[in-house]
Symmetry: C3
Subunit: 347 residues, 3 copies
Amino acid sequence: MFPKNTWYVACTPDDMADKPLGRQICGERMVFYRNADGQASALEDFCPHRGAPLSLGRVCKGQLVCGYHGLEMGCDGRTRSMPGQKVERFAAIRAYPTVERHGFIWVWPGDAAQADVALLPEFEWSGSPEWAYGGGLYHIACDYRLMIDNLMDLTHETYVHATSIGQPEIDETPCETRRDGDQVILERHMEGIGAPPFWQMAMRMNGMDPTQKVDRWQICRFSPPSHVMIDVGVAVAGHGGFDAPLEFKTSATVVDFITPETEQTMWYFWGLARRFKPADPELTGQIREGQGRIFSEDREMLERQQRNLQTWPQRRLMTLNIDAGGAHARRIIQRMVAAEQAPVLVS
Amino acid sequence: MFPKNTWYVACTPDDMADKPLGRQICGERMVFYRNADGQASALEDFCPHRGAPLSLGRVCKGQLVCGYHGLEMGCDGRTRSMPGQKVERFAAIRAYPTVERHGFIWVWPGDAAQADVALLPEFEWSGSPEWAYGGGLYHIACDYRLMIDNLMDLTHETYVHATSIGQPEIDETPCETRRDGDQVILERHMEGIGAPPFWQMAMRMNGMDPTQKVDRWQICRFSPPSHVMIDVGVAVAGHGGFDAPLEFKTSATVVDFITPETEQTMWYFWGLARRFKPADPELTGQIREGQGRIFSEDREMLERQQRNLQTWPQRRLMTLNIDAGGAHARRIIQRMVAAEQAPVLVS
Amino acid sequence: MFPKNTWYVACTPDDMADKPLGRQICGERMVFYRNADGQASALEDFCPHRGAPLSLGRVCKGQLVCGYHGLEMGCDGRTRSMPGQKVERFAAIRAYPTVERHGFIWVWPGDAAQADVALLPEFEWSGSPEWAYGGGLYHIACDYRLMIDNLMDLTHETYVHATSIGQPEIDETPCETRRDGDQVILERHMEGIGAPPFWQMAMRMNGMDPTQKVDRWQICRFSPPSHVMIDVGVAVAGHGGFDAPLEFKTSATVVDFITPETEQTMWYFWGLARRFKPADPELTGQIREGQGRIFSEDREMLERQQRNLQTWPQRRLMTLNIDAGGAHARRIIQRMVAAEQAPVLVS
């Protein structure tokens, strides 16, 4: 259950730098490459000649060339040429609208006619010299909505990430959940606490004394179809927390782009955009490594949860107050999917 | 096809010593742990909050704590607490009757109301200073009844275990099969033969001359649902075989607890209870290693036999005289399963 | 979709030299071994006693002995003996007609009554001192007809084997396809070109100057059910190409025996019969290694093509002029399968 008339993160430019990338998105087998204009393109990963995956081919002067018999495919899904053949009547394959933005390649897996670049989200951290970004990709065998649930209820940090970002105060501090249009926002502010190990590390790297008491915040923002940005950080206690001046705080945004591969599997693009020491690539690497380790702790839990849900498909899960964020997100997704499936009235 | 209203060996205390153990028994996904009273407990491996497997959690002061969001589950399947939540109305999960006995944790996967500790089997070798026990566990991808067949027809030793416990005399010596209530007993006595390599090793360790002629016996006892105890041994020829005085013989009981995981897979708890040099743990280790090697020889045969039976499901197998033990056992099992499925008459 | 009343290559004598070989051919699980007369035999891989695979057994004085309980199976599928048993009424298992020819064991997986050794193909390279043969076996997860398509359209060499036997002239030179009864023949003659790396190596080994211009030919011959022999070679330009005297050319036959395992998987027996330096086994090894590397390049393409075709089962592929050879072969196969399924009229 996923909407298809929307933008998803498909890959990074690096993923398709050396050769075409085959990747399934929302049940669609796609091939990604950079076309003659230097723009990211996505096509069905299916050569109309004999069904070979085009992702096994290569890009030659901006044309995608099938690695089996040399058919040259245009980025519009129409064959441009093939050695010794007239190609005018070759069946076209599907081309998916694609945009490069915020350091990612985005794809619209549904009706191309409805694709609109204006619908792409904007992010404060993107393209600003005050921010630095690092991240990675995990393939996880679960319904992508389990990951949304996970990120919209950070009480799990106390248990799943006990040695890095978890601390009992998360559990103990109530959070507020609210909707703002199709955004779901969840805030938790913990005051006068000790920083957990990951944040102590970050404070040290930001030149702050990690042993002092801090105010810590987590502001999760879901926006459809499946983006979760989490403003996180610590400020020296009593200076305003999230609103403290920059010199008193170490703050960042956890970036989560969650892309369905199939109904039961997903691509998880995770990262951290930080607002301190942006010009330090070594620090970016260190943080990426730490975050990668922490976020890999969710993987086994989510995959085993998925298997449990498939074993007991009739069982209803509970929706507690801490699950409100995920529940709102699911309702928004459900409404989008229903809208896509509704008959279109032509006046 | 397995009865569920009966006791099965589920695991050893060691298996759940460090953390909860997730294990499927008779198609039921269970989590095993030691509760606040120090007793073994088994629950559905499903957190009622969001379906996470409880076996990924930890035991904290005897309470099973879900590793996802900290729900504390009682050993009766009712939630005891959860940070920030009222849990009175949380859905209960199933608790399975569990007993620790003979060095194993036993579970009753069926109707808990019928569970009765008095139905647990007793064994001469259990808890006696004259006996020593060592064993292990194999997961085997076959119907558990194929393993019962295997153990109730030891002519296979000549072929599958030719280099250790097999010898042509097994094939050549007729065996007797009889039923005693729900027990099936099969006896084979070979007289005045050379001991095969495994028994020569055991004789040597027991201080006997391994080159002399021996009387060898195999007495297989099946009891429902799927326990097979095999009295085995060799005595100096002419001293009475199985009934010979202890100083003339080296004897033991092969212990086989066979627990269905699913219809096509099983847990095989194998071991040897020996009645010689019981206070020698090094010998226990040596024997376990040897037995483990021998018993692993059955695995490929059973798994490939299972695949063959699935390939040719219509084909009827033959039941020869050597198969009588397994055939009796299957009938007993079938009767138990039929009784479980029969409508219960309330007078 | 494969005919069964025909001969397929099943294995090499080496494959069953040390112990019985279990192999699935055309959906039939078979066991291959050499019987008491020294002849190759094939039986259902199923012991009539308890369904154990006979391929886990051993050959004892030319009898196949089940590795589970010692049943001795005759090469006619009837049990010869079993320790302690009367076997006259044991159910027979299927025996498959088998012949050793051309260095391979051939099997007839269909109706044994129709098996006729006279229907085996003959090959010029087989049994002649002027030729030497080397080859290998790949298991490939695709419909065997995709491999026939592959071999009957060598334009793929330009793309899949670009660094060894591919060259643009293959694409640029039109080929002729014709049928001769149930054979399909496809010829391509390239004149006055540079030899590609593999052929330069072969020319050097044959004592020819590899830098000179050559005439290169490829003559593919499909014969049912799925044999593809490809006459290949290069001759010093202007000496008649394929018809040039031996001293001006380096020539060989690519040997492809393609045996369905299931509808979606196959055994690919590939090899090269060469007509130069036949008495040089070291050269045979070198060529085999090179050919093995080249032919393994097809594997990923074919397996991914198969998965694509299963993802998009409704899509029709194109049949271009270069695909004519494969298309003819498919029609011949289809006609054979239809004939096997037609009701047999008894006059």
